[in-house]
Amino acid sequence: MLRILLIFYFFMLPLKVFALIEVDITRGNLNPLPIAVSPLSIDETSRQSFEKILKKKNIGAEISLVVEKNLKASGLFNPLNKDAFLQKPDIANLKPRFEDWNLIKAQALITGKVNIFEEKLRVEFRLWDVLAGKEMMALAFTTVPNNWRRVGHIITDKVYERLTGEKGYFDTRIIYVSEEGPKTRRIKKLAIMDQDGANNKFLTLGNELVLTPRFNPTSQMVTYLSYFKNLPRVYLLDVETGMQEVVGDFPGMTFAPRFSPDGKKIIMSFAKDGNSDIYTMDLENRIVEKITNHPSIDTSPSFSPDGKYIAFNSDRSGYQQIYVMRSDGKNVKRISFGKGLYGTPVWSPRGDLIAFTKLHKGKFYIGVMRTDGSGERLLTENFYQEAPSWSPNGRVLIFYRETKTDSKGEGFSAKLWSIDLTGYNERLVKTPTDASDPSWSSLLSN
């Protein structure tokens, strides 16, 4: 399973000028940038070799399709229809005829080529500014053939970063809970997939109830809640090796786990005698610290990215509200003061915002507020939705949404959705089964 960790060899190709086009991501993008993704060119020998290894007829075209779909899903780009392309991929990669690309209204162009090199997949790509007629970026990398989809994601990340000025979020994975069966006897399994829904894999068999998996921001470890032997406890799972171990083995239920930003601690709730408080456990020396001590329910803790603060959910005021405290549990301050109930605070990886779920007048909202509670903004309203998780660049939220059910159980579904921080570009994230509790990984490569 070292495949994921296998190094991508990067080479900067000679770069000639710098950029003129830019994509503004700070507001909802109603005019996505028209971009042409020319299929990566491939020589016949390489094509045949990869067809044998990967069972894909033209791996160059497949990789560029990954890039195209990513760009489209971001909502910031409008990949143009390939039928309109006038120039052949191999010639375009050498020197695009900018008039041709201008003619179809492309403002940016991606070209590249693929070949086999010592049994490995070698890809180079270039990003061009069509209007200025200039090369903006050129990169090449080599990896094992099986990593071909990741090559597409990394190209997207590089293009996104070059054009928006912010890191991408495409070479990432989502861990979530797969759901099947009737609502009253739901079978739940841990599942993982690439950010675009490819390579879906189930990690547990469904013999016991599992909930709320969350990625370690620094590794491929996951923490989650399992009802193994009917004892709800917090577990650790190494996604690469499949190794599992219980970490919250307290005399009662442990739940709502999350990693600290350095990945060294788990923060979670422990419920005993009708009272839930927040604890941390150091994964190295297993030292447990009690962080809150209050007769109310304290749960859903989430660290700030600098590790200095913790946002959490408490009903100490009588109803569910969001609070922030220092990581030692001192200085507790309520930050949600709008109408309704607030839950599931999650600190943005950029540090400036907290995403939350809100219930008001029978509707559920996903929203964001500043870390002092000001500037509340609701992004989406629905019958039921909760559990936002941030993309590693803090631009997109993924969450789950459930539909209304009649008393025969008809009409129920649970699906993953994503939405841009601006409130635009809401989209269904397709999963093979119903799905809930998504958690977004960090970038796999940097």
Partner: protein, 159 residues
């Protein structure tokens, strides 16, 4: 002066009682619900003849109603007679709340039932608590009646 104060307090308490009972009686009783607490028998199973297995709660609440306390007293009497039987109290919430808060709420509800059984002489050694949050509804409907059936603590024989 002192008497005056006592009288005043008595008066206030009386007023409060009247107001509370007024509130209680003015709560809508619609078929199988009082306020939003389930009062019907649809989902109820029996530990023994005349001993219902579950109690119901208002939204976001873990306070035992009069009916719940009566049910739990019957359970306690039955448990005293059957001293070899242990039970698991399974606490549940409806689907209208966030998953993690509901896990905590289910635990709080089951413990409310546990505490009451203990005051009626049942040893805590015989009672374990298991919260399912909103994971195991009995009624899959998305309507107030279904939700009221799902906000519950169920006593299940453990052996």
């Amino acid at each position: 002066m002192k008497l005056n104060k006592i009288l005043k307090n008595v008066f206030l308490v009386t007023v409060a009682c009247i107001m509370l009972s007024a509130c209680a009686t003015s709560k809508k009783t619609t078929g199988q619900m009082q306020g939003d607490v389930y009062t019907g028998k649809d989902t109820v199973e029996y530990l023994a003849s005349g001993v219902p297995d579950r109690v119901f709660f208002a939204t976001n609440e873990s306070v035992l109603t009069t009916a719940s306390r009566e049910t739990l007293r019957k359970q306690a009497a039955w448990l005293r007679k059957n001293s070899k039987i242990n039970i698991v109290l399974e606490g549940h919430a409806d689907e209208r709340g966030t998953r993690e808060y509901n896990l905590a709420l289910g635990e709080r509800r089951a413990n409310a039932a546990k505490d009451y059984l203990m005051t009626y002489g049942i040893s805590s050694n015989r009672i374990s608590v298991l919260s399912y949050g909103k994971e195991r509804p009995v009624d899959s409907g998305s309507n107030p009646l279904a939700w009221s059936k799902n906000r519950r603590s169920v006593s299940v024989k453990a052996n």
